[in-house]
Symmetry: C2
Subunit: 107 residues, 2 copies
């Protein structure tokens, strides 16, 4: 299991276009720029609790998008296949075609 911050960074990367501007701002400051909840609250003139609730809801939305679309899971699977491809190409070029087939059938 990935560390939560790293996982949220990836999910944010894949699905940020589906969030509202406010959700993007809070998530970006919290996860990418490492602001505290209090610092975000101060900057937006809202309560710390409001920021916390918004971020929790956004995290749940990102996990829901990942359940439905699985872009991060597919990305990880593809990375593994490409890494195998690179290794195989050095030693057994003939087996590379089998991996290309799997990549082509992944969607």
């Amino acid at each position: 299991m990935l560390d939560k911050t790293m996982r949220m960074n990836y999910l944010y990367d894949f699905y940020q276009s589906l969030l509202t501007p406010k959700q993007r701002n809070y998530m970006g400051l919290y996860y990418l720029d490492d602001y505290s909840l209090g610092e975000i609250a101060e900057q937006y003139h809202v309560s710390r609790q409001a920021v916390y609730d918004n971020i929790k809801r956004t995290e749940a939305m990102l996990e829901e998008y990942e359940d439905k679309l699985g872009l991060f899971a597919k990305f990880q699977e593809r990375e593994q296949l490409l890494s195998s491809l690179r290794e195989l190409l050095k030693s057994e070029p003939d087996n590379v075609l089998a991996i290309i087939d799997r990549l082509e059938n992944m969607e």
Copy 2:
């Protein structure tokens, strides 16, 4: 430009998990099973206009998801790279690594 039915089939394939069950039913019958608007209306005991409006709204939603996430565009790009990879592997295995690099950096 792809034929619209084919494009909608692809977009439906990529984004159907983000639609409501009713949207999925209408779109599936209309685009995958080739039912007419009248036949769908009859099956669901609603007006032909209601089915038409729902399908038009769903088509617009699918295009909006594609604008935001670009899964179909990336799929097409990946298919092209994999096809180049397959060809190159037959003739110039050394250049295959450059294509693997591009695939790895695509997200």
